[in-house]
């Protein structure tokens, strides 16, 4: 009975935290988001080559480090804390997770093994294209359909708001399977495939680039067998766990900015953090951080043990972390006063991230309603 990170995990976390603080301060984040990629490609080389981050969840057999979802979540948390723009989230949460979930039987064979080997080696980034225009609120929001003709499967249609969609080496497209109306598949597409047009778009969250994708007869391979929408959701629950962890980090980052400022900024001859109007909001951030971290860690633990309890733990983690992050990021601006709403101050970067993350995998309200369904209320 032990619900805490091991010493090795704590050491790893400290190393990642130090890496983020040294290599990706927020000044560097601001520079990175100005680039075409929307992230610092040199930094990503170090993250993938030196730290082996994309290979964390990948079995040792195909070149990964065979770590657990708890480790991957810990990294997500640290990257979230520093708002580090990098292909980590898309590659691991939206790429490796569905690849692992669709491996037919044992690793070692099939297209999954090839891609995972490439990812583990640090030479390949991934993402998943899910969202379709004006469809995001319904139950099974995917209507793009794969077409099979003469042994060749292709995809035609439009996907929007694909995270790192303009840079990912391979894109996994969630589509209605060619075989049956109510079956879905994860379809693998090359980033430079013919018929694929990728357009980087302006984002609310400046630190998480997105692209819209036009697919016109793009050749593709289905990963694993067609599945029901609820099976798709089981895969997405694992991805969601890493988003929740990222948000926990973001919450901590925003809280830290607010607390540190409240200690040094003086008004009315006192540090503003000595006023309860400020102190108590910071304390509430700490309560929400504690709650969000507990929920996120629990979900990651259940994911690491393939526990079916993840189906209810994932929405709890998402909704708890999202609400806490939005709370902390809003109050971070308020506590900073005037400079809090300037471009040059980092408060708005956290706020933008928080408001974007809040809807990325469904709003807290949608997650609570999904949870109610899953609990059979």
């Amino acid at each position: 009975m032990d619900f805490a990170l091991s010493t090795e995990q704590e050491d790893f976390r400290v190393a990642i935290r130090r890496f983020v603080d040294e290599r990706s301060p927020l000044s560097a984040v601001r520079e990175a988001v100005q680039t075409d990629a929307g992230h610092d490609t040199g930094l990503w080389s170090r993250m993938s080559q030196d730290l082996g981050l994309p290979g964390l969840l990948i079995p040792e057999k195909v070149g990964g480090s065979g770590a657990t979802m708890v480790d991957a979540a810990m990294v997500a948390e640290e990257l979230g804390r520093g708002l580090v723009p990098s292909p980590y989230f898309a590659t691991v949460a939206l790429g490796v997770v569905p690849l692992l979930a669709t491996v037919p039987s044992g690793i070692g064979a099939g297209v999954q093994a090839d891609v995972l080997t490439e990812v583990a080696a640090g030479g390949c980034t991934l993402t998943t294209a899910m969202t379709e225009p004006r469809a995001a609120n319904s139950l099974a929001p995917v209507s793009l359909r794969a077409t099979a003709t003469g042994g060749r499967t292709t995809l035609t249609g439009r996907k929007i708001q694909v995270i790192d969609g303009h840079t990912a080496d391979k894109v996994i497209v969630v589509a209605v399977s060619a075989e049956a109306e109510s079956r879905y598949g994860f379809y693998l597409v090359d980033g430079d495939a013919e018929g694929l047009t990728r357009t980087k778009v302006e984002t609310l969250d400046l630190t998480r680039p997105m692209a819209h994708l036009e697919l016109d007869g793009v050749p593709t391979t289905r990963l694993g067998e067609p599945m029901s929408w609820s099976e798709v959701e089981r895969v997405l629950d694992r991805s969601a766990t890493l988003l929740a962890a990222e948000m926990v980090g973001g919450l901590e980052g925003a809280m830290t900015l607010a607390v540190e400022y409240a200690k040094v900024r003086h008004q009315f001859e006192r540090p503003i953090g000595s006023f309860q109007a400020i102190k108590h909001r910071c304390a509430e951030m700490a309560v929400e951080l504690d709650a969000a971290r507990a929920a996120s860690l629990h979900a990651a633990y259940l994911a690491s043990t393939d526990d079916p309890g993840l189906a209810t733990a994932a929405p709890v983690a998402l909704a708890t972390a999202a609400a806490g992050f939005a709370f902390a990021a809003s109050w971070d601006i308020q506590i900073h006063g005037g400079i809090g709403f300037t471009w040059e101050h980092d408060a708005h970067l956290y706020y933008r991230r928080a408001k974007a993350d809040e809807v990325l995998f469904g709003s807290p309200r949608q997650n609570w309603l999904a949870l109610a369904d899953r609990l059979g209320i």
Partner: protein
């Protein structure tokens, strides 16, 4: 109790409506519908029209070029402009006409009135405001900008922040410490300072939307004539309080008109996104309507006080909290209605509005996302919600102040 307007006011209303009808294109929904450059051009022309009809400085005495309108006429004018989505002058008129102009009518010398007031109306002088300081924040009275009399001139050193429209202004009114040995709220004077001089530098501050709405203004041995002090020397705190206290009674009922127009846009947004059937969204939209109605009723109360000549009290703090927190909640609801569409803002924006965008603004994801971001600042500027709650607690409810700090 009677919410009908007197017949004379209704006649005046018709005159204003006619003037508006003659001067806006058919189908005009408000300046928000215009692209920024076009809007600015239209606004300049419209300001001239107002000036020609003596409708610009409506509360000033006629002898200084004011409109000499009765209070109820001022209200009617504001209402009709708000309904038509038209501004009451330029952005700088807020500072020139409403703030320093009105203040001069109370505290100015005859020379000051005769010199400055007509130049504001003609557009020759364009004003901005030098109140806040980087270190002072909500604690306005702890300002550090100093002015010293030297050879018949004030010599000013320090800096002011959150000065909007400074880039368009050639005059700034500045609160300065003129007696460093006096207690915190004493020894402050309000000076009128020409900006076209080497001692003044304006640096834009970019807000979280990327818009250069505000400025920091630096004073390095900046100078102004000894005569350019408003009210008695070292009595600037009292003058400043008069100035900040200019309850724009005439606009008491127009906040609700503007917010109502914004809420209609939000209703339309919900319908366009087919979210208007969701009970949660319906409940929130109805709450917004309720809050706008409360603002309208409170506006009638403020208007009644204004027409009776009563002074507004701590109600101004309640007003500030109510509209700013409503604005946040309304725009967060817009974000919720947009859902994932808010992730990639699209379409025309809110044109740099610092509160509710202008009537006619496009009903796009970009405009609402910009408003939602802007709304975060609404509970900070012009007295944070925390400061307003102190005011309400201490001045309205008589609760004890924070203890003095021992050093």
């Amino acid at each position: 109790m009677d919410l009908t307007y007197p017949a004379t006011a209704e006649e005046f209303r018709q005159r204003v409506q006619s003037l508006i009808a003659e001067n806006v294109p058919p189908g005009f929904t408000g300046t928000g519908a215009l692209e920024r450059a076009e809007r600015d051009k239209f606004a300049r022309r419209w300001r001239r029209t107002l000036a020609e009809h003596n409708l610009l400085a409506v509360s000033w005495p006629a002898e200084y070029g004011g409109g000499g309108l009765s209070p109820i006429e001022q209200v009617v004018l504001s209402e009709e402009l708000a309904r038509a989505g038209l501004p009451h002058g330029s952005e700088s008129d807020m500072f020139g006409i409403q703030l320093i102009g009105n203040t001069l009518t109370v505290w100015g010398t005859e020379e000051q009135k005769q010199h400055f007031l007509p130049r504001i109306l003609s557009g020759e002088d364009v004003w901005c405001q030098g109140y806040s300081e980087p270190e002072a924040g909500s604690d306005l009275a702890s300002l550090r900008t100093r002015a010293v009399l030297h050879d018949g001139e004030w010599v000013i050193n320090g800096s002011k922040i959150w000065t909007s429209a400074a880039q368009f202004a050639n005059w700034i009114f500045v609160l300065c410490r003129t007696d460093p040995d006096a207690a915190k709220h004493k020894g402050i004077s309000l000076l009128l300072v020409p900006m076209d001089q080497p001692g003044i530098e304006v640096r834009p501050i970019v807000n979280m939307l990327g818009e250069a709405i505000f400025n920091e203004v630096f004073f390095t041995d900046a100078r102004t004539s000894a005569a350019n002090v408003v009210g008695p020397v070292n009595n600037g705190w009292t003058v400043a309080m008069t100035l900040l206290g200019f309850e724009r009674g005439a606009s008491a009922t127009t906040d609700a008109i503007r917010f109502e127009a914004g809420l209609e846009r939000l209703f339309a947004l919900a319908r366009e996104h087919d979210r208007h059937r969701d009970p949660h969204i319906r409940e929130q939209l109805a709450w917004c309507h309720g809050r706008v109605e409360v603002m309208r009723s409170r506006g009638y109360q403020a208007l009644t006080r204004f027409l009776r000549g009563d002074n507004p009290g701590a109600e101004a703090a309640i007003t500030k909290i109510m509209w700013s927190e409503y604005f946040q909640r309304e725009t967060e609801l817009a974000m919720e209605i947009l859902g994932p569409e808010a992730l990639t803002p699209d379409g025309r924006g809110a044109n740099g509005a610092i509160a509710m965008p202008d009537p006619g603004t496009a009903n796009t994801s970009r405009a609402w996302v910009e408003s939602a971001l802007t709304a975060r600042s609404a509970t900070i500027y012009a007295g944070s919600s925390q400061v307003q709650r102190n005011i309400i607690g201490e001045q309205l409810l008589g609760l004890p102040k924070e203890p003095r700090v021992t050093r």
